[in-house]
Subunit: 455 residues, 2 copies
């Protein structure tokens, strides 16, 4: 591995330049205006695979955004196969004014590269591509690779699921490797073994059939914004618990070992909150902050709108108001069950003065990974070799819907070997990726190819 | 008065033709593109005063649109003076596609004249000008008249207030006559004796210093939209009462006579609600719908916004959320007092997890007119003579800020003798004015000149 590590260090600048090209493409998946950029990004990625010697590369159309699939078979007989998953699409960039650099003009500053998608997930998935490239330059790989890079991870679309369902043979493998998670802290390499699931509800309340003059009607009709606010305020009780009946029925409490591991982590609560400009946390009574994020479900309002928001005043009672709600799920909650219970509850608390319209989407079920698989053991060793430190086992509050789909359709060990850092600002302005982790990630990926081939 | 009434009937066509000329000028005050038309309208009006024998007429420039001021002094000694207020500016015409006739090409159909400004307020203010003209043709007036016709009523400008403040001597009078309100129904002449006031509060709650990933933080921090919703849901109690301490302290309850008069009005509650697409009303327990609109204060949210409202989902905990609040005030609430109490209360219910930013604006104090003034008595008799029906006394849920400014600066009895009808579509496409009310309004105005001169 030493030769590979040396080559990676020597090639640093060239790898970063390739990454910059990748990051320049505004592949925002949730906004139809960027459809052409999504397609351009998929093409760029396919060409890039070709350029480093993976010729068996396809752009596979879906009903939504295309999948880039690339396959490399090594010369070794009976070699194991690793399926690498990543996503080339990125989050929207609003609020654009808060970016120091334009989100699609990558800039390097203090050892970090700033751009939308730098950490989530273009920079992270690129480690495995560059690991292949470096490995191949020194020696043939001891393992087969399949790259499955999708373009819908940040959007409420789900065309990868039917693809997985319909292509189990194409995707056959011995382990699934994904880098789309974060380290616990800047100097704590981490392997993630649990993800929260997610469901979405968009709620619109309709009142009068048009905006009304608040002078001629104010006091005599219910205000849809007030009705919606009332409903939102009833979604949690004064202990911070979600009030939907049966919401916690299937929640698996942490076992003693996990609880102990959580307490051993160097988690600085004050720093955690001050880093996001807050004095106080807020959550479910009876749980620590880490438990709240990693092992407890959470309900949030992602957006709200209704009536007049322009300059000055417009004296109306609006005809309607809407909110976007998301719920993070933990093992063993089931997305379908929670969405059904929540919608029923919302209907039950709707005032008689409004009419509801509810849209619902299942994002993902939660995931719990077996920490004793060979794949996890390989990742543990690989991280230790590449970064000189043993990783810790952590959970992740976010969701990677595809992980749950891999669990469901492929039944193979999964490894979440992420290289993001807590300050990467993913989904926020000024997203960035630490270049030491980019280079270290390339090394760790190469080590993983080597370690896992030996089991 | 019979001679005058006969002359008015005989001159009907000529008066309507003059009104048509007035209505043809697109004097839209809120759109700077129409500045020339505003000026043209002011000139037309000043010329018209000259043409009917009111030679003491001035176009007075302001920082915004000009005021037309015209004065007539009768020959009678110690004659009383009536100040007539109106506005020659009109609302914008959007959505233009919904107009049956072009808004500035007046058309007569079924006894109504269709044009922007026909009811609000050119047609109504014109009644007083034509009443002068008819009266003068028969006999000298027994009263002095001052016309104050402004050009900013429909725009968010306020150059009339400093004019009132600086010109109390010029505006000295014994009563103020305004026709810019509606009848209770098509066959119910009405005198409006109370207006609600209005104040505005814009509230922003700030949480984390940026939008957060709802996976990485969900469950551990308060959500600004939920905090705002919680606060909004606490602005009213379960009896529909505003919860701000001291909010109702100065509210003057209706006296028995007023309450009785309200019940005598032909108000069809089912029709009222079905006309706005609602099954149920909602308001303060213990009050009828008319009482809620006319005699009780009302708090409404005019707009709310925060987080993501685009297509699909964005899994964030937003950094902030905002709402626009308006409060309609009734006698004897004071705008300054209510805004201060409300802001204090909002601060007191703000969760410790958010920081507040509050903007506040006073719109207008409420107005309560003494129904026993000689001016009101004169209007009552005048309407009865002109329309053959006794008027009812009504209140108005909306605000006419200028009325409160007249109260504040001139301290004279005010008469709101409007001739509009509920179907006039003011501020909407197909604005119209009933020509019977135009001609009846001219007669009522002439009678008012006569009646009031005798007190």
């Amino acid at each position: 591995m030493n030769d590979i590590f040396n080559l990676v260090d020597k090639s640093k600048e060239s790898y970063i330049n390739d990454l910059i090209e990748f990051l320049k493409i505004p592949s925002i998946s949730s906004d139809p205006k960027y459809k052409n950029e999504i397609n351009r990004c998929a093409s760029w990625l396919a060409n890039h695979f070709n350029s480093i010697g993976i010729f068996d590369t396809k752009i596979i159309p879906t009903a939504g955004h295309p999948i880039v699939f690339a396959e490399y078979n090594c010369k070794k007989e009976n070699a194991k196969t690793v399926l690498i998953y990543g996503h080339y699409d990125v989050q929207p960039v609003d609020p654009i004014d808060e970016w120091i650099y334009p989100p699609f003009e990558p800039q390097i500053q203090n050892g970090k590269i700033f751009a939308r998608g730098s950490s989530d997930d273009k920079g992270q998935l690129f480690t495995h591509i560059k690991a292949f490239q470096a490995y191949k330059e020194i020696d043939d790989l001891p393992i087969n690779l399949k790259f499955l890079i999708e373009g819908e991870e940040e959007a409420a679309m789900n065309n990868l699921e039917p693809f997985l369902r319909g292509n189990r043979e194409l995707l056959e493998c011995d382990a699934i490797l994904i880098s789309d998670t974060e380290w616990f802290s800047d100097d704590t390499p981490s392997i993630c073994y649990s993800l929260r699931g997610i469901v979405f509800i968009e709620l619109t309340v309709y009142g009068p059939d048009r905006d009304l003059h608040s002078g001629s009607f104010g006091g005599s009709v219910d205000n849809p914004i007030m009705a919606l606010s009332y409903m939102i305020s009833r979604l949690k009780d004064k202990y911070g618990r979600v009030t939907v009946p049966g919401f916690y029925d299937d929640v698996k409490e942490l076992d003693n070992e996990e609880q102990y591991e959580f307490t051993k982590l160097d988690f600085d609560e004050n720093k955690f909150y001050s880093s996001i400009g807050l004095k106080y946390g807020y959550g479910e009574i009876g749980y620590t902050t880490l438990e709240r994020i990693w092992a407890r479900p959470a309900l949030d309002i992602n957006g709200i709108w209704g009536g007049y928001k322009g300059e000055g005043s417009k004296t109306i009672i609006p005809a309607k108001a809407s909110a976007k709600i998301s719920i993070r799920l933990v093992p063993n909650q089931k997305a379908d069950d929670i969405i059904q219970k929540t919608v029923s509850y919302i209907k039950s608390i709707a005032p008689p003065t409004v009419i509801l319209e509810i849209k619902q989407f299942v994002g993902a079920n939660p995931v719990l990974i077996d920490r004793n698989s060979n794949a996890i053991k390989s990742a543990y060793k690989a991280i230790n070799s590449a970064f000189g430190r043993k990783p810790v086992f952590i959970r992740e509050g976010g969701s990677i819907p595809i992980v749950e789909q891999f669990v469901h359709y492929l039944h193979k060990p999964i490894v979440l070997m992420g290289f993001g850092l807590p300050g990467d600002n993913i989904h926020s302005p000024n997203e960035n990726f630490d270049l030491n982790n980019f280079i270290g990630g390339i090394k760790a990926s190469a080590c993983f190819y080597n370690e896992f081939s030996q089991f």
